[in-house]
């Protein structure tokens, strides 16, 4: 057995002790869990409904094919794109809002948690069913319901892939602005839950700036609209509160998104640096010069190496860092800003500044950037990505700190991030099969986040808190803040059955949570 690490105030506050058998009381104690053995998850439904009855009821609602309960099916839903795992007992895939509502009602009657899931591309464990129960996949709600170009609004279902919205309106000269790097796979529902950003957040803002309204199923199964089709709806901005709530306030079933008109000209350059400092100073200089690029993205040597090994796009492998600068607007402005940006790159020691000649070259530059996370698989079996934010002016300093932390813990860290926003993505590379490495990774991650907060920043820019960062939320909010948030949550979901054990740093959590592919040391979990 593992020596059980005691939680303390420092780095290992990420670890919370878990007792062998823990009883959980949801909805008047109707629901009991047993951790039967260490690594097999089992839950038992007590009154008023047996597990099989619930499965049968769900099958009646969504059809046999779309209720999964065999281990060889549900195991696939134990993980998102993070490294955390917990097995659901049942996965249900409703086809429309009525079915979603019916599933939520059935789950409520049997007191089972519900964890909504889109494409499972989240990086913070938000879709991992930490307390078992039902994973409600919205993948089948994948229709674009309405495109209203005159009012620049599209109404889509949550399972629609982010990029498909842009594809549907591109020919008419429009696009949907938030563009997470996973945009070819991630769903709009997941974007709403995490208030996702992307490289172009710098110019256009995050998801909440592009969602006008949402139709949601509340925890009692009621279907309501929050927000409106027009901007500036009166009353409390409940839609605003909902975006970024990580599935804890309700389940989104329709989203009204803003469409934007494509810019007249787009220009992209790649600047190559022999040291990280020059690259980060350039970022500070570009924004200080009054240029607002559409995107300002940085990748370090390890990330470049990963991309070039996986699906090469021609980044220089010997560079210490490359900076992607994209400028959009009317042609004259774009050219002027581009010239200025190139000059600033050169002044900070860029050894090469290469402008994309055509759309094909531009797409290639972006393809490398957007595939960088996935490409890390070519240089490491596992990675743990942080999502800290710092004020832009602190970038040179924080990047030196990150490098120091890597050295101190003896870990490789690959950086690929939204430099223009000061939104870091240090990916700590490791191998779970090496004993003891995970602990060091978690400590290094915590050290990075603390450095971000100390620099006047935040612990997450866009990935959400999920499971993975809930232990750190205390670095950012005090008890009163958290209490206020908990009260908001309480008013939407009094039984705390919607995506439980997320966001808030409660010790509540059970079932088995593992870090795949090998298990967490016994008795510990993140």
């Amino acid at each position: 057995m593992a020596p059980v690490r005691q939680p303390d105030a420092g780095a290992s506050s990420a670890f919370v002790q878990l007792t062998e058998t823990r009883r959980f009381a949801y909805a008047q104690g109707r629901f009991k869990f047993f951790a039967s053995g260490l690594f097999s998850f089992s839950a038992r439904f007590v009154k008023p409904m047996s597990r099989q009855d619930l499965i049968d009821e769900l099958k009646e609602i969504v059809g046999d094919r779309y209720v999964l309960s065999a281990k060889e099916d549900v195991i696939v839903y134990e993980q998102d794109a993070s490294i955390l795992q917990a097995m659901p007992e049942i996965v249900a895939l409703p086809a429309d809002v009525q079915q979603v509502s019916a599933v939520v009602k059935a789950a409520r009657r049997s007191g089972v948690p519900i964890v909504p899931r889109g494409s499972g591309t989240g990086l913070a464990g938000g879709a991992v069913p930490a307390e078992g129960g039902i994973v409600l996949s919205l993948a089948r709600l994948d229709r674009i319901l309405k495109i209203d170009l005159a009012n620049r609004v599209a109404v889509v279902e949550p399972g629609v892939i982010n990029l498909d919205i842009t594809k549907a309106v591109a020919a008419q000269g429009f696009f949907y602005a938030p563009d997470p790097s996973s945009q070819a796979a991630c769903s709009i529902g997941g974007n709403v839950a995490n208030n996702s950003g992307g490289p172009h957040t710098l110019a256009y803002g995050v998801t909440t700036n592009h969602v006008l309204g949402v139709e949601v199923v509340l925890s009692d199964g009621e279907i309501v609209w929050l927000g409106a089709m027009v901007p500036d709806a009166p009353g409390y901005d409940l839609c605003g509160a909902f975006v970024g709530s990580e599935g804890t306030l309700g389940i989104v079933t329709k989203v009204a998104v803003r469409l934007m008109a494509q810019r007249e000209a787009v220009s992209t350059l790649l600047a190559v640096f022999d040291d990280m400092d020059g690259a980060t100073r350039t970022v500070v200089d570009i924004t200080a010069a009054g240029i607002i690029p559409a995107a300002l993205e940085l990748m370090d040597q390890l990330s470049i190496e990963a991309v070039e090994r996986g699906a090469p796009v021609g980044y220089p492998r010997d560079a210490a860092a490359v900076l992607l600068v994209e400028i959009e607007g009317v042609t004259e402005h774009t050219q002027r800003a581009m010239n200025l940006a190139s000059a600033l790159c050169a002044r900070n020691g860029a050894r090469e500044v290469k402008k994309a000649k055509d759309d094909h070259e531009r797409e290639l530059l972006w393809k490398g950037r957007k595939g960088a996370f996935g490409a890390l698989g070519t240089i490491t079996p596992n990675y743990y990505v942080q999502d800290g934010v710092v004020p832009r002016s602190q970038l040179p300093r924080i990047m030196r700190t990150v490098a120091d932390i890597g050295k101190r813990y003896g870990l490789r860290i690959a950086n690929v991030f939204h430099a223009g926003d000061g939104n870091l993505h240090p990916n700590i590379l490791f191998d779970l099969r090496h004993p003891g490495e995970l602990e060091r990774v978690i400590e290094a991650g915590a050290a990075i986040l603390r450095a971000c907060v100390d620099a006047g920043g935040s612990i997450t820019g866009e990935h959400g808190i999920g499971l993975e960062k809930k232990a750190y939320i205390g670095l950012l909010f005090n008890d009163q803040d958290l209490e206020a948030m908990a009260r908001l949550r309480q008013s939407f979901d009094p039984e705390r059955r919607l995506n439980p054990a997320k966001i808030f740093p409660s010790p509540a959590g059970c079932g088995e949570l593992r870090v795949g592919p090998a298990r967490m040391p016994a008795g510990l979990w993140i």
Binding site: R65, V76, D80, L93, A311, G374, G377
Partner: protein, 433 residues
Amino acid sequence: MTQPNEEISALPPGAGSARLDLPELYQCVHCGLCLDQCPTYRVLRLEPESPRGRIHLVKAVAEGRIEPNQRFAEHLDLCLMCRACETACPSGVHYGRIAEAARALLGPPRWPGRALALLCFRHLLPYPTRLRWMASVLRLYQRSGAQRLASRLVPRRIREMESLLPAVPARFFSPSSEIFPALGERRTRVAMLSGCVMSTLFGAVNEATLSVLRLNGCEVVIPRRQTCCAALNLHNGETMMAKRMARKNIDAFLAAGVESVIVNAAGCGAAMKEYAHLLRDDPEYAAKAERFSSLVKDASEFLWELGLALAPRRVELRVTYQDPCHLAHAQRIRSQPRALLRAIPGLEIVEMAASDRCCGSAGIYNLTHPDMSQELLREKMQAIAATGADVVVAPNPGCMLQLDYGARRYGPKIKVLHLMDLLGQSYGAAGPA
């Protein structure tokens, strides 16, 4: 402390996990970028039917967390092996190798048609003579009127399966000699794979390929001792037989002393380029397989690299191009066939939507999983219809059979041709075969 390594090595007896201990498994970081590119996931929206899901399942079996049981097998079986996920994967995970290893582990027959398929893989495909004999019987059946009679008697399901077959042509591809000299100046010496399906059902394509190669200055060797490429065996977990066939082909082709081995079937080319991987642990053949695989070239890849010695003549047609999965995804060949089409004056080339999405043929998949296959085919035929093309070009026999069937069943009434057919036509080719 529970050692993670012990966890992983603690495997259930008989799970055969050693064989699943693939480094590729740990190259997948679960990012999900493959999901929307997977045809089966697009249709069903179920993650166990996605590449990431299947890799997760194989990993779970390798770690002994689940049994390689029937349910597991169904998820692996529903995969088309189109490898569109490999194109989408930023980590360069060789999904195909993972799936093949899992299928090899699963081994014995499961679905009802599988016993028949195995019979086919083990006793028919490896033996060209037997295959031709079978095809002759089929031809007799089609032409004697027995087919018409049978169509009234047999159940609908079997009739549908049968309708996938095209009419067996009057002549098989039977080259009159083993070596064909180049027509015009000799530029290189190549060998050509006849292929099992190609030489029986698409003899004309092989003849066209042979002429096009010769007209472009290639001396062509067609080794007599060659056999089927073993792609179907590999995809269906028949590794032992596949290795045997691969060794036979390596011997036959290396003996020919050629600079390239030309393949006009995308699936066969992809499989033969993987011989090096297949035989990597074979002490006698590993090096030979490496050399052999480096010689293998798809016909379009080869011709585009070599450069056309003879300018194609005018062909007035509106064509659309279907990327065979094992050309676009497995061999990453997309631009060369299109460039060759563009080299033919008079051709109007109209791209269809999602030309690199699987048509649902996938080897014998259209027989084993008719529902999914039909769903994909319907969608494909709609995309083809939208182009208004007269001809769809698909340089792979499986795609050609499937699209031909699709045209008959769903429309549009469109002609299906191999790229070599079109080039041959353009040359007005009538080289002696």
